[in-house]
């Protein structure tokens, strides 16, 4: 009797914890297999250091303060570049989505520029800015600009026309119509742009820091390569993965917060 009574309770207690752990099973298993493969000598430490060695290298760098400094520099570049490029892209997306004139004036130009891979500008950017901070910020901002611009524009253009008509019938002013109908309607698409942009942000930063920098995670990896410190190289790659995951989680949290009305984000 007591066993039957306690069964459902045990199940409801165990499920949420298991749910939170499931996504981490695969990464943890990979690390475990990797560790075993290194310890048994199946993979040479010159090709791939064991996870424990990578953690040790990270610990040393953390104690010396280098790691924190490099992460901070990279994080600062990523976020400032993202803010600059993202806000310009958002502003153009709004303007071109709302105004025919603005769209006719700038959209064709932006579509042409979009087709140039922004990393192809690296030689030019080095000539212009040297290996200064502004070079990295410029590249990140440029890379982030287009996904935000395109998705904001698309979001605004695809807002349900019937809702806009409804808003007009009920006497909304242009400002109200934007605030209550157009912007919330475009938001899901803007978030798609945001998450694309976050991916491009890291990609651009890694490339820029690897090619031309005197600090940051990419620089740390390049330095380590010169001294054959393969554990540090692997460490920097893992840190990029974690930072990318962090940015993605942050944007998901923001999505859940602002799109709670959306059936896809409702908890069951």
């Amino acid at each position: 009797m007591s066993l039957i009574d306690s069964l459902p309770r045990v199940r409801t207690l165990r499920l949420p914890r298991a749910d939170g752990l499931i996504p981490w099973i695969v990464p943890l298993a990979i690390i475990l297999i990797w560790q075993v493969a290194c310890v048994t000598g199946f993979v040479s430490a010159r090709v791939l250091p064991a996870p424990s060695d990578v953690a040790l290298a990270g610990w040393k760098l953390l104690l010396s303060g280098e790691l924190a400094r490099d992460i901070w520099v990279s994080f600062w570049r990523a976020s400032v570049g993202f803010l600059i490029g993202g806000s310009i892209g958002f502003a153009f997306g709004l303007a071109n989505g709302l105004s025919q004139l603005s769209s006719k004036l700038t959209d064709t130009t932006l579509q042409m520029v979009r087709n140039i891979p922004h990393l192809a500008l690296i030689p030019l950017v080095i000539l212009w800015f040297g290996i200064d901070e502004s070079a990295k910020l410029f590249l990140v901002a440029l890379g982030v600009f287009f996904p935000i611009y395109l998705n904001t524009l698309h979001g605004i253009r695809t807002v349900d026309q019937q809702l806009i008509e409804m808003g007009r019938i009920y006497g909304m002013t242009d400002g109200e119509l934007f605030r209550r109908v157009i912007f919330p309607g475009a938001l899901p698409s803007i978030f798609v742009g945001l998450r694309f942009a976050l991916g491009i942000m890291w990609l651009t930063l890694i490339v820029a820091e690897t090619i031309a920098a005197s600090s940051g995670l990419g620089y740390m990896a390049m330095q380590a390569r010169e001294f054959m410190l393969i554990d540090v190289v692997v460490l920097s790659i893992l840190i990029y993965a974690l930072l990318g995951k962090l940015a993605d989680s942050a944007s998901r949290a923001l999505e859940r917060l602002t799109l709670s009305w959306h059936p896809a984000f409702q908890k069951h």
């Binding site: 808003g167 019938i169 009920y170 006497g171 209550r180 109908v181 919330p184 709670s260 059936p263």
Partner: protein, 280 residues
């Protein structure tokens, strides 16, 4: 029975005749005089490019009447409704309400609920207040409109979790919240299942009787038209082909023989001329 069917050819200019005022409606009509708007349309034409959709409509609707507009698809009935609601501009002719009106006096309800998915039910109803949205009693008025359609307990829900009928009731509350004096319905029940339709029809009839607004409803469902309306207009080729008073006392019993006979004769008229109507 046949006495209740009066088909009038369009040429007859007698649309202003007061023969629709029936003694049993007097109490409600007194209320309607205060609340409803009357509507007078003269020589109304509407073209989209070369396509003339409405070819001369003359119509008078007294305050507080409920009128159903039926016709085949493409006959111009929805266009007429959109013109009355001010959603399109007229090509020629006039539409007058006989007095100065505010924007909040005429409201439209569409086939789709057109609720803002990102606003809670109560905020969606508040949208209907128009420029009075900012007033202090906005929320109280929205709440009482929700009570009127029987959805008070859904006030904090997202529209996505409501059923089709519930969404349409929220849209009705939004249309009612500004106490309009004329309500235009464009196939408001067209997307609902049969049972939900019947309960919505009862709800529409009840709020119309309570509030005394003038109701104009476009529908493709003749049974719905004769069940709800005081008067049925049949539109053919952009003109009013028939103007029928429905003299059946309320509350009308759905499926009654009287309604069925009237429905049959209107359908027969609708089908005449193009197809063999012997199957009716």
């Amino acid at each position: 029975m046949q006495g209740s069917l009066r088909f009038r050819p369009i040429d007859a200019e007698a649309v202003e005749s007061p023969d629709f005022v029936k003694p049993r409606l007097l109490r409600r009509d007194a209320n309607a005089l205060l609340r409803g708007l009357s509507l007078t349309i003269r020589g109304l034409r509407k073209s989209f490019g070369d396509n003339e959709v409405l070819r001369g409509i003359d119509l008078h609707i007294p305050a507080g009447q409920s009128v159903a507009i039926v016709g085949r698809s493409g006959c111009g009935k929805s266009t007429l409704l959109r013109l009355i609601a001010g959603l399109e501009s007229v090509t020629a002719g006039t539409i007058g309400f006989g007095e100065e009106t505010r924007a909040e006096d005429v409201r439209v309800m569409f086939q789709e609920p057109r609720l803002l998915p990102w606003a809670r039910v109560l905020s969606n109803v508040e949208v209907g207040l128009g420029r009075e949205r900012a007033s202090a009693d906005a929320q109280a008025r929205a709440e009482s409109a929700l009570v009127e359609v029987g959805l008070a307990e859904k006030r904090e829900q997202w529209p996505a979790v409501l059923s089709g009928g519930q969404k349409q009731r929220v849209a009705l509350a939004r249309a009612l919240v500004s106490r309009p004096r004329m309500l235009a319905f464009d196939e408001p029940l067209g997307a609902l299942d049969a049972l939900t339709r019947i309960s919505m029809q009862r709800l529409l009839e009840r709020v119309w009787q309570d509030q005394g607004f003038t109701a104009i409803m476009v529908t493709h469902d003749v049974a719905e038209a004769v069940a709800l309306a005081d008067r049925v207009l049949v539109i053919e080729d952009g003109r009013i082909a028939h103007d029928i008073n429905v003299d059946i006392p309320r509350p009308r019993r759905r499926g009654s023989a009287e309604l069925a006979v009237l429905e049959g004769s209107i359908l027969k008229n609708l089908l005449q001329g193009t197809e063999d109507s012997s199957d009716l």
